[in-house]
Symmetry: C2
């Protein structure tokens, strides 16, 4: 895609943006503040800029006077970049010169790491647990009456150097007919054992040579969203991927409400049924999209948190939410997909990721396997911030994990105007350090409806850096702006005034909202600190961070460090790995080795119940500041704050 | 039960009989001939005897003149022995003095060997594959959040020295609830591995201590009859046993007709369904009779011939009856009983006896295991003469087996008046060597309807020894009796005249019937000879014979030797073991060791397709005589025949 250079004056900052990007977003990217209330819909008319060189498309609003249009004025939010351009931010909306000298906090999104199939192949790990072998068996005759199964097994033992071959009963049922359909030429599907001294089992036979049709299904059962991939086991490639809301959503938004529903009447069966329906629908879509014969599917691998796993498996989850929080099982045996009501051929075996504890589940274990954390030398912090936050620290030698009761702030929960990351959610924000006027960017460039999780982080970080919010998370009481105000005893900042919203109310951020965010980030940060301290290490020792889950993809790393959610470190050491759970499910479909390793890794993952770890409460209380009681933990932020302070504010 | 001595005069022979036995049967037992046509119903009035000392009950028929009754005449067939008694067979129905001197061929029924539980216990083999263990687990608490399954497995590993424990998925589903029902006190059912290095698997958990309720079901799936035993795995005893006709009977009498039915439409499913119905009905009856909770059943072991096994398992049997006669499988994996539609708890595992070939099936393998043949030092011949005849020779070092196409003669098939061993079937027979008048005994002491298998052997043996039938199986043409006659070109002996039958026709034995019997016994005898010869041995080397199957229980060993069905040997070396297949099924329910041994034994059982073994045809042709072309193989019979010949006939 084409990119263009946009230069902003008088800041004299240049950014590279994609063709068609709005000037407002380009300014945000450049760290240039432009007042903008309406999120980019063009109704507030505040984001006026002058095009000095080059051209833009659009931005000609009725809110601009004809003579201003003549002078090159455009609304930044409605003007699209179509070539290199120089833009002047008008004097009336720029801060004084001293403020111009403050370097903006650099915007940093995480480097994205996707599934590395080539690495898997290079390391010789691309050996799927399900292998297809084409065989031409000798036909029986008057001197050779070997039973069909014995014939197949003996031949495989001889030619393929198999030992201790087992045969599943349904194979025996179909073998006599299938052997004779193409003159004793058949393709056998072999399920490799987990342990090297285990038994290879023949799980399917097909007439003729079908070795090119060997597929796996990988499933991530999220509390909110279910992802299903169809994988070609010959090439290792993903043939199709589909996602949809987990059908259980109408029975409760979070795991606790799902468990409560499961405890009533046939609630457990109902929840099993609806999530199975979701998975089945997605499998059918994938099969149709890829145009494959579903009889070629050999395995299905599934990962989900402990509650999602137990609900899908129809294992009563009631003890997950009751002290002492005990899950039914850690490691599940291979289960026939049909016994789980999955619409897959009878021979398909379901491999379910193991759980560490009630709140560190198979999705996290899958993430540890899929991300490669379990075999890295680097001391790594793995964070999955979703409905709940789970953290893992360690490397190939040791692993410690914990679930943090972060609360739903990062999903927009517990925030007065919080919402999911959907159209109309404020996702990015900047504040004029002199006038304290906001610059709001929304998902979809429409008038704001609320604030999503990444928006919340950006807003609080900007308010804090601008000195509007102090390290205790309280608003400065004496600022020369009516945007910071007290209403019914609660202090708040007005992000969008009523007229510019979709909801006919002022959109505000209250001190209670900030407190909730601080509690959430504090729980996570102190959780990491506690885990590290338990093994004699500290945040400074971290070599890398893996951010997993939908949340991580949008979060601005620099701002997450400003509020103290992430420890301060070079942005290129932070990797966004996306849906790590699905990555792990795919990984275990492609490499048999992982099925043995995962047992060891799961055992190795020392789980800390933070509420029962004495040092946790101290760390937690110390983290209930912006960014932290101990500012020395955030030296770069400290330097910037010092610079600002010396610059006059 | 009381026994009494009955002495017959003028033969001066005494036998011991059970209280209530008829005088006619006592005479047969003593080798004393009394004319008797009507099978024991009392209608022919021929079996008149005089009570000389002691008393009998009954026998006072209208067919006796009042003055004869006064003299002590009774009908032997209606007179019951109630004390020691001396009986004179009247002059008019006794042969002349010279004949009296011929010693009767001694009647010999086989020693019966039943399941030897004590031996199993003494040898330390009473270790069932399914073991129940009662456990008091530590309860989880704030310092111990082990998942339920991990808790169970760890505890078993620690306290019970288990290694590599597996858990079946349904156990995981029920474990959380069951653990908490009686304060973490549970009974686990462990399925022991076949191989010592295999994995023990937890297949069930029950609340509290249920170790005293551990049961197994053993099933013999016969082509005609299905037997089901309910076994107490704690004591090893049989709690109940039930039998019924195989529901498949209405779809064909023999395996070939069943296979033909299975090949049409949904015939296979139908045959699976009806035999499963039969088994389920018998299981329910056993459970009811024993008054047990079926949830305590841990395993079901099944044995049947190859066709019965495949039909029950719903494995297409069409290639069993087509050259080169290939069964689907030899060894079947453990199968969940519910997957076979058995009405047993979900956790129950079905263990199916392996097959050697299309016509030496799991029933024979079970017989080899159940009888102990596989671990004896004695060179043993095992014969199961049922719908088909299967033979095994060998000992603990080697085993050879074959199926003999004996035809259904021993089941009454292919014999003009042949019938199954049911009420009205002539089961025993003697002939007056002077008058050639018969003495018929029927099952149920009713007028004859036909001839059963054991009756056929007894009749032909008696006719042969009396010189009525020659070694070629042909009737002597010039005997002074109208009972041997030619009708429509076929020679026959009239066993019962029309008036004394239930069927309003003369019951006869034709030369064609005798030929069929000779072919049948010849096929079996020559089969044994061939097997032995292939390993460099002969009939004379045999140390023991095991007779299995319903047929063996009624056959008179001496007469079976007379016709050349059995080799001549001491009767106490011949053991009747009854339903060896059921015995084997029970054995594998009681001793896990046998599950490993059976794989080895099955591999060791060298199967001979007799039709493809060159020497077989020579042996077969040589055996198509009474008793055999080579009379030296039957020295005792030869001596008796010589004695008779010298006695005048």
């Amino acid at each position: 895609m084409d990119t263009h250079l946009v230069t902003f004056q008088p800041q004299n900052r240049t950014v590279k943006v994609r063709d068609g990007e709005s000037l407002l977003r380009a300014a945000m990217e450049a760290g240039v503040h432009i007042n903008a209330s309406c999120g980019g819909e063009g109704v507030c008319g505040k984001c006026r800029v002058i095009i000095e060189a080059g051209e833009v498309e659009g931005g000609l609003s009725e809110r601009l006077k004809p003579e201003d249009r003549e002078k090159g004025y455009r609304l930044a939010c409605r003007a699209s970049v179509i070539g290199d351009v120089t833009v002047r931010v008008p004097v009336e909306s720029v801060v004084d010169a001293s403020v111009l000298n403050i370097p903006p906090t650099p915007r940093k999104t995480a480097r994205v790491k996707t599934f590395d199939l080539d690495e898997l192949k290079e390391k010789g790990l691309f050996i799927p647990p399900m292998e297809k072998v084409y065989l031409t068996l000798p036909e029986p005759n008057a001197q050779d009456h070997l039973p069909d199964v014995t014939r197949l097994v003996s031949f495989l033992t001889l030619k393929n150097h198999e030992h201790r071959l087992g045969v599943e009963f349904p194979v025996i049922r179909k073998l006599p007919d299938i052997l004779r359909r193409e003159g004793f030429q058949v393709t056998a599907t072999l399920a490799r054992p987990v342990r090297e001294d285990g038994q290879t089992v023949i799980i399917n036979v097909q007439p003729g040579d079908t070795t090119s049709e060997n597929y796996a299904v990988a499933v991530d059962i999220g509390t909110t969203t279910v992802y299903v991939q169809l994988i070609d086991l010959v090439s290792g490639n993903v043939l199709a991927e589909e996602a949809d809301f987990n059908g259980q959503i109408s029975y409760g938004e979070d795991v606790i409400s799902r468990i409560m529903f499961a405890e009533k009447g046939d609630g457990l069966i109902r929840l099993h049924d609806v999530v199975t329906e979701t998975i089945n629908k997605l499998i059918r879509k994938n099969v149709k999209r890829a145009g494959i014969d579903p009889d070629g599917i050999s395995s299905v691998t599934l990962a989900g948190n402990t509650t999602m796993t137990q609900l899908f498996l129809q294992v009563d989850p009631r003890y997950i939410r009751r002290s002492p929080y005990v899950p039914a099982a850690s490691i599940y045996p291979p289960i026939k997909a049909k016994d789980l009501d999955l619409d897959l051929p009878d021979h398909v075996t379901a491999l379910v990721y193991p759980q560490v504890s009630s709140y560190v589940g198979g999705d996290i274990v899958a993430g540890v396997m899929g991300s490669g954390l379990y075999r890295t030398e680097e001391l790594t912090l793995f964070m999955d911030i979703g409905t709940n936050a789970e953290i893992v620290v360690g490397n190939r030698d040791w692993l410690a994990c914990a679930a943090c009761s972060a609360g739903p702030a990062f999903e927009g929960g517990g925030i007065e105007f919080g919402m999911r990351a959907a159209k109309g959610a404020i996702e990015d924000f900047s504040i004029d350090p002199v006038t304290f006027e906001p610059m709001n960017l929304t998902i979809g460039n429409v008038r704001p409806k609320g604030i999503c999780g990444s928006g919340l982080i950006n807003i609080v970080a900007a308010l804090f850096e601008a000195g509007v919010v102090n390290p205790n998370g309280k608003y400065e009481r004496n600022l020369p702006t009516d945007r910071v105000r007290e209403r019914e005893g609660i202090w708040e900042y007005v992000l969008v005034r009523q007229a510019d919203t979709q909801i006919d109310r002022d959109i505000v951020l209250t001190e209670i909202d900030i407190e909730n965010l601080i509690r959430a980030k504090g729980a996570i940060y102190s959780g990491c600190q506690t885990l590290l301290e338990e093994v004699g290490l500290s945040m400074q020792d971290l070599d890398r961070i893996y951010l997993a889950g939908g949340f991580g993809s949008y979060v601005d790393l620099a701002r997450a460090m400003v509020i103290g959610l992430l420890p301060e470190m070079d942005a290129d050491k932070i990797t966004y790995i996306g849906n790590a759970s699905l990555m792990g499910a795919r990984m275990s479909a492609l490499t048999n080795r992982i099925r043995r390793d995962v047992v060891e890794v799961t055992r190795k993952m020392t789980n800390f119940e933070l509420s029962e770890t004495p040092s946790y409460m101290d760390h937690y209380v110390a983290s209930l500041f912006l960014p932290h009681t101990d500012l020395e933990l955030f030296p770069r932020l400290k330097a910037r704050l010092d610079l600002r302070r010396s610059a006059g504010r």
